[in-house]
Amino acid sequence: MALLQITEPGQAVDPHQRKRAAGLDLGTTNSLIASVREGVAETLPDEQGRHMLPSVVRYASGGIIVGDEALTEAVNDSMNTIVSVKRLMGRGIEDLATLGDQLPYRFSASEGGMPRIETISGSVTPVEVSAEILRTLVDRASATLDGDLDGVVITVPAYFDDAQRQATKDAAQLAGVNVLRLLNEPTAAAIAYGLDSGSEGVIAIYDLGGGTFDISLLRLRKGVFEVLATGGDSALGGDDFDRAIAGWIVEQSGYAKPLATEQLRGLLMASRAIKESLTDNAKVDIDFDRDGVQFKGALDRATFDELVAPLVDASIKACRRAVRDAGVELGDIHNVVLVGGSTRVPQVIDQVANYFGKTPLNNMDPDKVVAVGAAVQANILVGNKPDDEMLLLDVLPLSLGLETVGGLAEKVISRNTAIPTERAQEFTTYKDGQAAMLIHVLQGERELVADCRSLARFELTGIPPMVAGAAKIEVMFNVDADGLLSVSARETSTGTQASVEVKPSYGLTDEEITSMLQASFEHATEDANQRSLMEARVESGRVIEALGNALAEDGAALLMESDIQALQQAIEKLGSLSEGEDHLAISEGTELLGRASEEFASLRMDAAVRKALAGRNIEEVDKEI
């Protein structure tokens, strides 16, 4: 006799219908993948039982190596071994100097200003390096879960700007994974702790990773996580703690010459081990003798605390700023969550507890918590828990604006605005007969263009001849739920649609991505055609299923019998088309079915809106006021 099965309401999906979804934490130092299996979200280990994949990619003459095997060669083959590539994502070649790192790589610029790293097997972009890490993890998950993934959630620091987010999404596209959502790391952590089912209130997430620091304040209300404010420092992390120790050792040793790359790497690795040891020990003996730097002695916790005090203080200052931005009082914050390996440092825990006035939550593994939260969210988004009410409402991390006269940045959408959102700004011409206008899109809080991040420049052409000031040029900013921006512009006074070309400053163009994909197919054993066919089938299957579910749910209530039949016939038609081998025909059929269902989609959305306000009318509302 079978035992009584107990399932949560949202999990009652038939096992063979369950989708494979995963959460990916693409970290500066380490990356992880997690998935919900039998109701439990957990990180997935590789064949040797290792959960964390060092975010290291080595381009060797024999091929590409990712992870631990690449890391061991990082010192000996530093030129061809890319570490901490996350720091380069979405950055331009001219940004590299400001990253504060002594990067050992040989860089060259690609056409779009994106840095390319010269390796023994040719030059690669940071996006391609990240795609290798993603691919390794996705392959691991496919093997563990016994099939291709239907969708993934990838986490990014809340502080990531548009270019960095776009680069992350490009990497996923290169790796051939379906991104359900880019999720902010702190939000993922809050989900992992199950705070979404906890009491309502404000939650602070303090996330100190290897290379970045994020502070986020979230409010949980009615099952909705609202990001109230985010802040942080994209160049502050545990690596800086290592550097502080390394600097101290060099100072103690009396070594006066500038350090070579290999020397620094060795020193940093030793410093890191010392830092980790100081978490459980009050004092660590050091016997360092390498590459001419010699030091024998000890580092105690108090000295270490002093060394890192300015770094921890900087993080607390960012916390104060975020609390203020969120418009909440310290007393309103009822949970503080620690995320990131660097929050193991006792001084960090003490200072955070001291500032917020409460003991922070740190009972989950701070290295895994983000991936676990991402897996929970991926499981919901992919459709495995249709009854789950949890929703995340995100905000724009950094203001978006345009360059105006005199090198000044004018804000169009200010930071911490809820997304998705759109905003139009009107400009005019300053010369008679001016036919074109340069539009420079910026991100950042500073007033000068030079201090902001340049996201894109494009030219609006075809403005009809008019006197100066007569043209009305409307620039429209659209930010989607992932925080990704698209910009368009048109001349409104004459109704002339002027042409627009957006060139991402540091991103990849669609053509570049396509050609990279093609290049990777040439290396792969898989035939490109076969892959296109597979992708077309996956997509058509997705649409058939989504529409089928929608019809079962709302068809009878919203459509006439004849419309339902027509849609069902269209579904069947696409189904049989998908059994064929022509991927173009399948894609076309999918597109047609989508369009045929447009009216139905619109009716469903209206019904959903009515449902949200159900049972309410204006008189009733009047009484409540």
């Binding site: 959502r181 929703l391 995340l392 989607d480 929608a550 989508g594 209206d606």
Partner: protein, 173 residues
């Protein structure tokens, strides 16, 4: 679908400058729960696009109605009044504004007396409340006056922003 409904109607609220803030916040969350793109992550492209449009509209509507100044501007807009870029304002009002600016500068020069800044902000909040009350009244009786009051509200809001910036500077945020 009708994207041209006014922002109050979207939340099922009466078109009134006095908004029930709690109710607006609740309705906002209820609506987002239904229309947010995450609800359609596994849906068709059409659903995703619609969800994106709806979620954007709901966000914009919420931001417009939530804060007093954008709400006031929107009330004028509903009555077909667009704000001017360089409105003519009574000299006495402008003199008052210059006075207030100077007060703020003095606080900054005095090495930043936080108590003084605090009482300045309280004074500003009071002034904003008075202008808001006048605006609500003028809206149905004297639209020109209502428009002028919005310009006053704009000035006062900018002063509040400056006062907050100064506070941040003094507290070293």
């Amino acid at each position: 679908m009708d994207f041209n409904r006014n922002y109050f109607e979207i939340f099922g609220l009466p078109v009134d400058y006095a908004v029930a803030e709690e109710l607006l916040a609740d309705r906002f969350l209820e609506l987002q729960k239904q229309v947010h793109p995450d609800r359609f992550a596994a849906g068709t492209d059409q659903e995703k696009r619609l969800a994106m449009q709806w979620a954007t509209l709901v966000n914009t509507a919420n931001e417009t109605l939530r804060a007093p100044l954008p709400r006031a501007i929107y009330m004028l807009e509903l009555r077909g009044v667009a704000l001017k870029h360089n409105p003519a304002l009574p000299p006495s009002f402008l003199m008052d504004q210059i006075d207030l600016r100077e007060q703020l500068e003095e606080i900054e020069e005095d090495e930043g007396d936080l108590e003084e800044l605090d009482s300045f902000r309280k004074k500003m909040l009071l002034a904003i409340n008075v202008v808001q009350a006048k605006f609500k009244e003028a809206l149905d009786e004297d639209i020109d006056k209502a428009e002028r009051l919005v310009y006053e509200l704009q000035f006062l809001s900018k002063l509040m922003v400056s006062a907050s910036r100064l506070e941040e500077k003094l507290l070293d945020y």
